[in-house]
Symmetry: C2
Subunit: 337 residues, 2 copies
């Protein structure tokens, strides 16, 4: 169940309740592609306010399916929060030859055997590993794409969606940067039974204004009462803009990847660490994360200069807290009208 | 002050008290070369029982001297335990051209300027950064070495020791695998004023029996009442053997480096992780570290397979707990006679 508890303009504060699971929105999901948020533990993720994460079902299927089916994903990775799973992202896995056909994603198992993730198979795997929220299989062309390629993607995505329907499934909307194809995709899945809508195929290289324009027309076209997930969006500025347009849930590697590459978000802007010119005691006066409570900016900067692995972890903790604090603030602002 | 509180054969249980500092021996010091135990925080180090660490003063001097002089090393790295500092290890720093002359270690600063660590300078730096225990500058030839080179090293080490004397300084003994040179080095520093003796120049490639033989003859020749530090030794088996021969303190990158290379110590022996054949729930039934309490062997093994950075950290926590538990057990056995 998804309930909108407050609105401000087109922005919404909501609550998702399914079984024991409760998630207040707007919410940000850190990426735990391989059943691990890079560099941090589940308890650290909790401490910085993460309630839900997103794991890649295709990865788990290829690398740890048997054990995860047996134990369940929550128990395997010791995460008792909410788990979303998708089957995308295979484009970005190195040494992983995969391509999309009319029938699904064709890929190689580690032993060289070829397999296909048909839409039904994708859902079956997400169910078997014990995920809380699933994403329907979609065809997401890499950018730059031709209109023809995106037309094909929309066609496949609608067709696949049919066999992915279910009470805890988000359908992924494609359509590239073509307004008419975006609307066509929404129309094509509108009569199907899904928990919510996910906007896919954005933030993959297209101009930022195009991304915003697509989010804008999509959120205007979607039914109000279902949750809206924007895939791959994670910069603080983009999150703020997209919440204003009515997005409820985000997932992205942006905060964690930036942290590993020595960029932290602070209340006085981004700081690139590992540089001689960075100096100071307090990392972010507005933050009370473990990193800010315990270490100085000088030391964190020094750890990055020295390429000490602890640096990435301390920055990841901070960036996730920063984003979660932002989500809390946005929710509060909407609640207060 | 160093007090021997119990003996069993040649093994000793002791206590070091200097100012506020108390360290029970036998003790193991993890290596925090660059003012950071790789992958873990000071609070994690404490939690696994670390009381003291060893930092490289030469590294700090080259990379963060100004700020560390200002704040003190404890405050800079947020470690309120004991800090030992040495000035060795420059042989192993890549992209760091350094060599030893009669006057000290000659090296380049990051800006290309050449500097020399004379023995007095080495002590001055260790004092300025606020270390608790210092090591005198020594000349440690890399293995394999000629007898002539080791003779030279012993000569220099004795000469340098003269100007390094002090109430919290350990003098480092050289002599390679030559019994007579080892004894000559001990004799050469015997009338000087030091807190304790450190055995250097071992575990650098010589056969293991030679290492044991040198520790044996050295501990027999040293005065009983001063603490003995064995540099670079850190495998569980070597620690046990060397405690039996009367070593009180060890420092080594062995447990932490092994952890980062996917080898963990357990009560049922070493396990190499990241392998398909490793399976099981409990990591080490005899261990109650954070890693063993929270994660399964299957998951830790999987994290290494996937090269997830969290793996190294979880293994580091476990290996340090394993070594510290071993030290506690050894101390207890000596105390119980």
């Amino acid at each position: 169940m998804f309930e909108i508890v407050a609105e401000k303009g087109r922005a919404r504060a909501g609550i998702i309740k399914v079984g024991n699971v409760t998630l207040e929105t707007p919410a940000f999901l850190p990426v735990a592609t391989k059943a691990c948020i890079k560099t941090i533990t589940p308890s650290e993720a909790k401490e910085v306010g993460c309630k839900a994460i997103i794991v890649n079902a295709l990865h788990i299927y290829r690398r740890a399916y048997e054990i995860v089916c047996e134990k369940g994903l929550h128990e395997f990775m010791k995460w008792d929060g909410i788990i979303f799973t998708d089957s995308g992202g295979f484009q970005s896995i190195k040494k992983f030859p995969a391509f999309v056909s009319d029938d699904g994603v064709i890929f190689k198992m580690p032993d060289g055997r070829e397999e296909i993730f048909a839409p039904e198979k994708s859902i079956e795997v997400q169910r078997n590993i014990g995920s809380d929220f699933f994403f329907a299989l979609d065809d997401c062309p890499s950018y730059p794409y031709t209109r023809e390629r995106v037309e094909k993607a929309v066609e496949r995505t609608i067709k696949w969606a049919e066999s992915c329907q279910g009470g805890n499934v988000f359908v992924i909307l494609q359509g590239g940067t073509y307004e008419d194809l975006r609307l066509k995709c929404i129309e094509g899945v509108s009569s199907m039974n899904f928990f919510g809508y996910a906007i896919g195929g954005l933030c993959i290289g297209e101009p930022k204004e195009e991304m915003h324009r697509m989010v804008d027309i999509t959120t205007r076209a979607l039914p109000k009462e279902k949750p809206r997930h924007l895939m791959g969006v994670g910069s603080p500025e983009d999150i703020i803009e997209c919440v204003k347009m009515g997005i409820d849930i985000f997932d992205s590697a942006f905060p964690t990847r930036n942290a590993r590459h020595a960029t932290i978000f602070t209340s006085r802007g981004k700081i690139n660490l590992g540089k001689r010119k960075v100096k100071g005691d307090v990392i972010d006066e507005a933050c009370n994360c473990y990193t800010c409570r315990n270490f100085s900016l000088d030391y964190l900067n020094y750890l990055f200069k020295e390429k000490e692995p602890l640096a990435m972890r301390l920055a990841t903790i901070h960036n996730l807290k920063f984003i979660n604090d932002l989500m809390d603030r946005l929710r509060k602002e909407i609640m207060e009208g």
